[in-house]
Amino acid sequence: MKILVAIKRVLDANVPVRIRADGLDVEISGARMSINPFDEVALEEAVRLKECGSASEVLAVALGAAVNQDILRHALALGADRAVQVEAPAGLQPLGVAKLLQAVVAREQPDLVLIGKQAVDDDAGQEGQMLAALLGWPQATFVSALQIENQALQAVREVDGGTETLALPLPAVVTADLRLNEPRFIKLPSLMLARKKPIEALSADALGVDLAPRLSVKALSEPPARGAGRLVADAAELVECLQIEGRRLEIKELS
């Protein structure tokens, strides 16, 4: 079984977000970039499936500028066998990404596509579902536990108010929640080894995919700051304040 994992390069989740001078995007020059944490979890899951004998090959795919090489090296160090870098213009949108991945899937014929449930930059959370739609494959989204047996998947999904378990045949698309696993720490020898593994380059042009943007960002802004709060001395004073707010908000337990 072959697994394709799509990974995205994003501003590291722990660094401040600054708006670019033109106000239309985020300033990433000089900022620390990382593999999207959800995609790293997807990749870790794929590597574990290979390690336990359920999968035979793990392919990591990144779309965008050549700088994606760094996250592909990371993916190879984590345990991917091969990497594909699809060079594409900046500003890809979810539907365009899904179409590019569809073209890569047509070339590579994986049995399973694993991908993060969302990216921490645009927080769109659409990629896996859109790709599954275009491929006509079943999907399991927001997955926190995954099993493969006899060419079929069993996936536990995190849904509002609880969980549910789906059984689905392969090929399929699975999107990973952070709780699916904890990615391993990459050791230096794996990093060295990863330098020797191949990264194949493709171009979006050659894949002949319509990437026309559907959405345009008109402006970015920071959300209005909340007014300065007030520190209270003790529980009694806190409850007095709660009562005042409770009356204003018509909360019967506090009125």
Partner: protein, 311 residues
């Protein structure tokens, strides 16, 4: 053209978010139809939502999986130009699939609708707001329901019954675990008591009594959930549920950006933390610096006393 709203329910009744999505639909001046995939009782309840044109009803026991529901939405969109839903796990699963089948983009988690194809939506865990325009002829949109005004009831509109699905999906739902609780639903509660990693094994013993006195839902940080102190469906934040209650009581949690993403639209934020420099105090309206193992029981007691005095 018109709007198609995907209703949400728990099998028996509409979820409060649906009333707010219908409220959001008034941003367009278009007729709105509500799609109920569920029981007759829910369809009848939906028929009384104020301001809608009709209910489209597909009768079934359990909501079909995305693989089956998305093609239905696509078919219904021949007659509609906007597909609208709450930013729930159901819609986040099925709407992107429907959008791709329709060959259109999807706008997720809109916090404002500023024109027929213009929206404001958060990015980067709510640290930025983006004003986004769509060029597509069909708009597929989820909204952050708590930020929109709910509609009330009105005389019932007609219910149009849809033909049953053919059952073409290859996916089967083999288990569903919905946590039943006496407490209000987290997504729509007026008061939320939320705990972080600091609660440890005492998450429930300390916070449940406080939540009970306040008629509140319980929430949690990812750290508290990952450590096994709280159930996963309680997680508030970028990757959990987004809430905007009247009062959000944040206990023993630091206020990481990913957590704030899920609660910073709350009306009043109250923080209890022993570290005066914890980021949660930057967004809190009221802060109590102290050891939660002492202050939480004290707050619970003080509220009970207050309630006894009033009774």
């Amino acid at each position: 053209m018109s709007i198609l709203i995907l209703a949400e329910h728990d099998g028996q009744a509409l979820k409060p978010a649906t009333r707010r999505v219908v409220g959001a639909a008034s941003s367009w001046t278009l007729p709105a139809d509500v799609l109920v995939v569920g029981s007759q009782a829910v369809a009848r309840e939906a028929a009384q939502l104020a301001g809608i044109r009709q209910v489209l009803h597909l009768e079934c026991d359990a909501v079909p999986v995305a693989e089956e529901l998305a093609p239905l939405l696509v078919e219904l969109m021949h007659e509609h130009s906007v597909l609208l839903a709450a930013h729930s796990s159901l819609a986040r699963d099925v709407l992107p699939r429907a959008a791709a089948l329709l060959d259109v983009a999807m706008i997720g988690d809109a916090v404002r609708i500023t024109g027929p194809a213009s929206y404001v939506r958060p990015m980067y865990a709510g640290r930025l707001l983006a004003k986004v325009d769509s060029r597509d002829a069909i708009q597929v949109v989820t909204v952050r329901a708590p930020l929109f005004t709910p509609v009330g009831d009105a005389p019932a509109v007609p219910i149009q019954t849809l033909p049953a699905l053919t059952g073409s999906a290859t996916t089967r739902r083999i288990a569903a675990n919905q946590q039943v609780s006496e407490r209000p639903q987290l997504a729509s509660a007026r008061v939320v008591v939320s705990g972080g990693r600091a609660l440890g094994e005492q998450f429930d013993t300390l916070l449940a009594p406080l939540a009970e006195t306040l008629g509140a839902a319980l929430g949690a940080t990812r750290a508290a959930v990952d450590a096994g102190f709280a159930a996963n469906e309680l997680q508030v934040g970028q990757t959990g549920i987004v809430v905007a209650p009247g009062i959000y009581l944040a206990v023993g949690l630091s206020g990481a950006a990913q957590h704030l993403a899920g609660m910073s639209d709350s009306d009043v934020i109250v923080a209890i933390n022993q570290d005066p420099d914890a980021p949660i105090f930057k967004v809190a309206d009221y802060g109590l610096v102290g050891n939660l193992f002492e202050t939480v029981p004290a707050v619970t007691r003080a509220i009970r006393q207050l309630q006894e005095r009033q009774a």
